[in-house]
Amino acid sequence: MQKRLLLDSQLLQITIQRLCQQLIENHDNFSSSVILGLQPRGIFLASRIQKVIAELEGHQVQVGYLDTTFHRDDFRRRDLPKKASETRVPFLIENKEVILVDDVLFTGRSVRAALDAMISFGRPNKVELLVLIDRLYSRQLPISANYVGREVNTLASQHINVSLKEQDGDDSIWLMNTEEA
């Protein structure tokens, strides 16, 4: 079994702290900023970022969940359809600065779908993308992240396995070869 640990619990915590510092530099007091976590795992990262920013700066940033299932461009083309999950955006994003949060940036297609889904809630002033893992050289669309936890060189046949405490019991991010994944 071939797998490599990219981030463990401690490293993940440090990475989120650093990403939050970068957000604080660019967003001042977050008065017009909102965070949208992408289902399924981006929502946990979004909540953690919200918490860290509150601890560091005392700002309560609004957080929403975005599900992109109905906006994907591979519907009817993939074997197993994805099951939709909850979208909860309890605010309008009109004229807001939106920070999209996801775990892994790979082909860029989820982010494209997310941009599409997001527009249903208004026209934001600016949209930024924050990802924990950026898989380099694998983009199929002209999309890049503004905030990156860690850049990784991967093969298309490899797979990134993200476990988060909220859902899987522990924090760890592994790079796997697909046979085992």
């Binding site: 109905f70 519907f75 009817r76 359809p81 994805k82 909850e86 979208t87 309008l92 249903s120 809630f121």
Partner: protein
């Protein structure tokens, strides 16, 4: 479970409980979409859907058409009153001609029971039954049970009475299947002439007295008296029907508990239900219509992604 095991929705009878739950969960998500400022998603943008109605319909056809448009599908409409069916074309020929225009899904209402089964056997497209004669009307039963789930939290363990013209009603049959699969107890109530023989073989209770039935139930689904399907007289007069089987406010107030009232529409006000009841807080009639669009979006979406498609 992420997908339906079939490429057609012909009746509730063929669905499993898990499949109904999947449709409900997907409906929750679409209901959320319908409450957004922009009520549209692009899921079915490369799908063409034909709505073929050989029988009159307002709610169902509008509801399907809206659901299709909210999913970004291309929609064509056909109703038999203004078509070549009048010139003697057969069902199969009509549908095959429509399919030759590269249609992916067909939503059909027909006056013959089993018409959609027939179609599903002979043509290559996803078929959705929007009512076949006195047989089934699956999306209506789904939206009825979904509305019960919404108001009462769940369907399992609830007592539901279906009141009225059970004999001619596809809504009744589909509802009986759906309610039983979801674990509800079902009773039918109406004049003996409008209850099918051997209906108790389906595992439903039979009650002739409306007051007793309402006292037993949590939910009453009041059916429309289908004057157009009655070739002979099943009861002496509409007035007498209203007297014995009409649901009115005095009757509801005299019960020991509050019950929920459903009606699939269109309402014959003053016959099976009085205006006062239809417009009261007990009635979910307009909620049913609202849920109907989301249910149909879920069905269309799930069938479009089913493996057999």
């Amino acid at each position: 479970m992420n997908q339906l095991n079939k490429s057609h929705l012909l009746g509730i009878k063929e669905l499993s409980e898990e499949e109904i739950q999947l449709i409900f969960e997907t409906t929750d998500n679409f209901k959320d979409v319908l409450n957004r400022p922009i009520k549209k998603v692009p899921s079915l943008r490369d799908v063409t859907i034909a709505n073929i109605f050989f029988e009159n319909s307002t709610r169902t056809r509008l509801s399907f058409e809206l659901a299709e448009k909210r999913l970004s599908a291309d929609v064509i409409n056909f109703s038999s009153s203004s078509s070549s069916v009048k010139k003697g074309e057969t069902l199969l020929d009509t549908v095959n001609n429509i399919l030759a225009m590269k249609v992916d899904m067909v939503v059909m209402r027909h006056s013959s029971p089993g018409a959609s089964h027939f179609l599903a056997k002979h043509i290559k497209a996803n078929i959705i039954n929007a009512g076949d004669g006195t047989h089934e009307h699956p999306t209506q039963a789904l939206l009825d049970t979904y509305s019960i789930r919404e108001r009462l939290g769940s369907v399992a363990g609830k007592k539901v009475v279906i009141v009225g013209d059970i004999l001619h009603s596809r809504v009744a049959l589909s509802n009986i299947f759906a309610l039983q699969k979801l674990g509800a107890e079902v009773m039918v109530c109406g004049p003996a002439t409008l209850l099918p023989k051997h209906i108790e073989k389906l595992g439903v209770k039979v009650e002739l007295d409306l007051r007793k039935a309402l006292n037993w139930c949590d939910v009453a689904n009041i059916l429309r008296i289908q004057l157009e399907r009655q070739k002979m007289s099943y009861f002496p007069s509409l007035r007498e029907y209203a007297l014995y089987y009409g649901v009115n406010m005095e009757l509801l107030n005299s019960l020991d508990k509050e019950i929920t009232i459903l009606h699939p529409g269109p309402i014959n006000r003053g016959i099976e239900i009085t205006s006062q009841v239809a417009d009261s807080k007990y009635a979910m009639i307009l909620d049913q219509v609202e849920n109907g669009v989301a249910i149909r979006m879920a069905v269309l979406y799930l069938l479009a992604s089913s493996p057999a498609a």
